[in-house]
């Protein structure tokens, strides 16, 4: 389908995003109409759940369109669809957690739902974007909702501090991203990624302005996925934000931002400059070390998971580096696989943390987990599964993900990067095991642990734990679709 002017058929592709945004508005409108009296949490959650399912079905029904629409701004290909479905699942799980979490469930769930779904709309935009400006719009749409979400926790000090920190630094990063786009526009005369793809390789070899532009884009996206040295906000913000929001950021934001990285890699943005390539390799290695080594000494579980998410950004970035060399489809598939399965297991880990969280950020210290493995066998086993999967132990899916990324890196000739990667796995094993050790091998406190009304969060734990194992054994279930979805748009 080629469109010269905007037609109705073309506009229909926006239906899912629109529907998601409309869903976002329902609970909060109800609240306003009802003189600011909150609709019941159950009603809010039901509306959102139905809305998300409808949007997921719409995304599936609208079919695919392999070339960019809206004058080259958005694409609705298989990758966009796969990512959108994952984003929707993440959003649904996040809301399940919000429904049960002490920090979000009481007064402001309607606002919370509105913001999460708006942010998800931004994520869907990002997944489809083929234009750097649209990427920027999606990024801001996603982020601005997040700034408010972080501040929305009932707990006062940390949450506000985190929101402010993320807002200031995030604005900087967005500005740098935009600055980079202007460089690229200045050199190539367009902001459409698939058009730039044709000349990117030669520009990267002989045009320094273009390299600077690409570098700034890496900084902008790298901030959101917490690459070293733009990762410093991660632990503070993950710790300060309400746990469901941390989960949403660690899974959703990483997913779509790495999708953007994959699209850039497929469009030759990182292919051609050895200098840029070297810098990216250094970033990947430093990111892994920064995340893993800092995680070793943390006492707060949310900070442990936050630093682990920094480290995982490093592993994923190895995949991006491998994919950028000659735009390797295998490596891109491996990266996409890794990002998706990372979302599954990390969501599970946050879900368990969210269940154990108490009023006034109690219950987040790692020593609060002493003896939980035998007191709460189901949650303990699930958290062990997530931790071991994050550490890359077979037969959990985390191992398969690392295996794919590392083997694609070796095939593209990045043996050293892989060795750094496996060394980091070794370092990380210590702090993931530490959680298991405390849960199973330390004497429990006498305090009874109650988890009332947490069934939606427990459902999330159960689903993600089962998926973590099933995808580990049957990784084809994700690899095959991912393999089909990663394509080079420019060659069509």
């Amino acid at each position: 389908m080629e469109f010269t002017t905007l037609s109705i058929a073309e506009s229909l592709f926006l239906l899912p995003m629109t529907a998601l945004f409309l869903t976002a508005c329902i609970p909060i409108t109800l609240k306003v109409l009802n003189k600011n009296i909150e609709p019941s949490n159950r009603l809010t959650l039901s509306i959102a759940t139905v809305g998300i399912i409808v949007v997921a079905v719409l995304t599936k029904l609208q079919g695919l369109n392999p070339s960019p629409l809206f004058f080259g701004a958005l694409i609705f290909d298989k990758m966009a669809q796969e990512i959108n479905h994952t984003v929707l699942a993440i959003t649904l799980f996040t809301l399940f957690l919000s429904y049960s979490n002490v920090n979000t469930k009481e007064h402001t769930l309607a606002e919370h739902v509105f913001l999460v779904l708006s942010s998800a709309t931004g994520m869907m935009t990002l997944a489809s974007s083929t234009d750097l400006m649209v990427t920027f719009v999606g990024l801001e749409l996603m982020s601005i909702a997040l700034y408010v979400l972080i501040a929305l926790g009932h707990e006062q000090r940390f949450s506000k501090e985190a929101a402010f920190k993320y807002f200031i630094l995030g604005s900087f990063a967005s500005a740098i991203f935009l600055f980079g786009v202007s460089f690229i526009f200045g050199v190539s005369g367009t902001t459409q990624m698939h058009v730039i793809a044709n000349s990117a390789q030669s520009l990267l070899t002989n045009n320094n302005l273009f390299i600077i532009g690409v570098g700034m884009i890496i900084i902008g996206i790298g901030f959101k996925v917490s690459l070293f040295p733009f990762h410093a906000w991660t632990p503070d913000v993950y710790q300060g934000a309400p746990t469901p929001v941390s989960a949403f950021m660690a899974t959703g934001v990483k997913l779509v931002m790495f999708a953007a990285f994959i699209r850039l890699a497929m469009d030759n943005f990182f292919n051609g400059s050895t200098k840029l390539n070297l810098i990216m390799q250094i970033l990947a290695v430093l990111t892994m070390f920064a995340g893993n080594i800092s995680a070793l000494v943390q006492e707060n579980v949310k900070r442990i998971v936050a630093y682990s998410s920094v480290a995982h950004a490093g592993y994923m970035f190895i995949g991006i580096i491998a994919a950028s060399q000659a735009s390797s489809l295998d490596a891109a598939t491996a990266t996409l696989f890794y990002v998706i399965i990372y979302a599954v297991m990390n969501m599970g880990a946050f879900a368990v943390i969210s269940i154990f969280e108490r009023q006034n950020r109690d219950g987040l210290n790692i020593n609060n987990y002493a003896g939980i493995g035998f007191k709460k066998p189901f949650l303990g086993a699930a958290l062990s599964i997530f931790m071991l999967s994050l550490a890359g132990m077979p037969p959990m899916v985390g191992f398969i993900g690392k295996f794919y990324v590392f083997s694609s890196a070796i095939q593209e000739g990045y043996l050293w990067l892989t060795i750094f990667g496996v060394l980091n796995s070794l370092v990380s094993a210590y702090y993931y095991l530490r959680v298991v050790v405390i849960m199973y091998m330390k004497e429990p406190s006498d305090e009874e642990i109650k988890t009332p009304g947490a069934w939606p969060a427990k459902a999330v734990v159960a689903i993600t734990a089962v998926l973590t194992i099933i995808f580990g054994i049957m990784s084809q279930a994700i690899y095959r679709p991912s393999e089909k979805s990663v394509t080079k748009i420019s060659q069509k």
């Binding site: 035998f374 071991l388 132990m393 077979p394 037969p395 191992f399 398969i400 295996f403 794919y404 590392f406 083997s407 070796i410 095939q411 043996l415 892989t418 060795i419 496996v422 060394l423 796995s425 070794l426 094993a429 210590y430 095991l433 298991v436 050790v437 199973y440 091998m441 990784s475 084809q476 690899y479 393999e483």
Partner: protein
């Protein structure tokens, strides 16, 4: 089908047992199912064709086809006995832990059975990635066994075990991936099958590096001096069942890995490095024996004797001749049985007195005659007295070693003397002489009860059967070992040209 059944039955049992309430029922069910598993594995022995070196009971299904990874398992004469050793020891361990494990009984059995599946899987896997999956799967249950049911410094020991093993395995993973990438360039398709790896023409330098990567993983597991330091900690802190399984089977995966992976894959590297491994093996024999001699703690003494015994295995393997490799394989089984029995015996006395200090004992033979007899038989086996299984293994290894390197063999032979010194000296101090501190005190020591006798008798029978009729066992392995050596020589010759 039967091989998969044998491999995965324990896993299913372990997971199902978690859902039962009654501890007593779990124990009985675990024992019966472990025996059933052993009987099932005997079917493998019965249907095993000992005339061929090729793989038997092969099952192959695609697992991750785009990477050429398959669910590919099979059995030959080398892995056959190790599998039987595993299934044989499990019911004994379950029975031995009847009273020794007094908390979290369900979780204990689950960990034990999952560990059993992981070990069996590692022995039967022919696909390298599948092997790696099972290899890593062993870590977590063993980590839990040491960390939850272990002694005072159990958490430290558990970490040490885990991290040491992982250091080795991560480099092995890199080597496996590199081999897979090589398969893609040389054979046209990516493959993780060991049989495809055997066909590769690997350049010399790559052989050296990858051999070292594999060897590191296996050497830590064996353990070869100087990578052995995790073993005494793990053994001393682990509960008796954990020690038995660690010494009995887990360590064998290291030596098995050399035979299955490191040596046949990289013949040129082996040619270059084998002398170093012979030196390390001999050093381990003597060093382990000397350190064992001065240990005040029985369990630590047995742990260091493991280092010494496994030095023999390494020496035999790197002698690279029929006698050496056969002896080495035999020694693996011997060590599983005699050291397993020693750990069980130490555990039994520890249950009664809560002390493992040798100096606290003395004159025990009078108080616990039955115990003294079992301990004596095991000691004889451990120091390789003719007529016991230990003799056959060590004799074959020394025979092989003489062919390969006379000095190494001569030095290794001194290890046999040292072995007699530390074992008999310990025996003397515990069982003879004046009653020790613990016996003059208040409590009466009871001799072994029926359950404990039942635990030990099968092991004692095997000690003599294996010592007197070694051919019962060696016949099955002959073809496979000759095949292994022939391939290796051919590959060295063809690559050297």
């Amino acid at each position: 089908m039967i091989l998969s059944l044998v491999t995965f039955l324990p896993l299913v049992v372990g997971l199902v047992l978690l859902f039962f309430k009654s501890d007593k029922f779990v124990k009985i069910a675990a024992l019966l199912l472990a025996v059933a598993e052993f009987v099932l594995s005997l079917a493998l022995l019965k249907n095993f064709d000992s005339t061929t070196a090729s793989l038997q009971f092969v099952e192959k299904y695609d697992w991750i086809p785009q990477f050429g990874i398959s669910y590919f398992i099979g059995l030959d004469g080398i892995s056959l006995w190790l599998i039987l050793l595993t299934t044989f020891l499990t019911p004994i361990i379950v029975l031995a832990s009847w009273n020794a494990i007094d908390k979290k009984i369900k979780a204990f059995h689950a960990a034990l059975f999952i560990l059993q599946t992981a070990m069996l899987g590692a022995f039967v896997a022919i696909d390298s990635v599948l092997f790696f999956v099972f290899w890593e799967l062993m870590l977590v249950p063993m980590f839990l066994l040491v960390g939850i049911w272990g002694g005072e410094k159990r958490i430290y020991a558990a970490y040490k075990f885990f991290i040491y093993t992982m250091v080795g395995s991560i480099f092995m993973l890199v080597a496996i991936i590199t081999l897979m990438a090589m398969a893609k360039t040389q054979l046209g398709v990516m493959s993780a099958s060991l049989l495809d790896f055997y066909k590769l023409q690997i350049p010399l330098q790559a052989q050296h590096l990858m051999f070292l990567a594999f060897a590191l993983a296996f050497a830590i597991k064996v353990p070869i001096f100087p990578l052995h330091t995790w073993l005494p900690d793990a053994h001393v802190q682990a509960p008796t069942p954990g020690s038995v399984i660690l010494a009995g089977v887990l360590l064998k995966l290291g030596t098995y890995g050399f035979i299955r992976f490191a040596i046949p894959l990289f013949p040129l590297a082996v040619e270059y490095f084998s002398i170093y491994f012979i030196i390390l093996g001999v050093f381990g024999i003597i060093y382990g024996a000397l350190v064992a001699m001065v240990q005040p703690d029985m369990k630590k003494l047995v742990a260091y004797s493991s280092v010494s015994h496994l030095g023999y295995c390494v020496l035999g393997i790197f002698a690279l001749n029929t006698e050496g490799v056969t002896g080495s394989l035999y020694q693996m089984l011997n060590h599983g049985i005699s050291t397993g029995a020693l750990f069980l015996l130490v555990g039994m006395i520890y249950e009664r007195t809560h002390s493992r200090e040798i100096a606290n004992y003395g004159g025990l033979a009078k108080v616990m005659p039955l115990f003294a007899i079992f301990f004596f038989i095991t000691t004889l086996s451990s120091i390789a007295v003719p007529g016991t299984n230990g003799f056959v293994g060590e004799f074959l290894i020394l025979l092989g070693a003489f062919k390969a390197n006379k000095i190494a063999a001569a030095l290794a032979a001194t290890g046999m003397v040292l072995g007699a010194v530390y074992m008999l000296w310990m025996y003397k101090r515990i069982f003879f002489g004046l009653p020790g501190k613990l016996l003059t005190g208040h409590h009466e020591l009871k001799d072994l009860n029926k359950r404990e006798v039942m635990v030990l008798v099968p092991l004692m029978i095997l000690i003599f059967v294996m010592g007197i009729f070694p051919n019962l066992f060696l016949d099955k392995t002959k073809a496979s070992i000759e095949g292994f050596l022939k391939n290796n020589n051919q590959m060295q010759v063809s690559l050297n040209k």
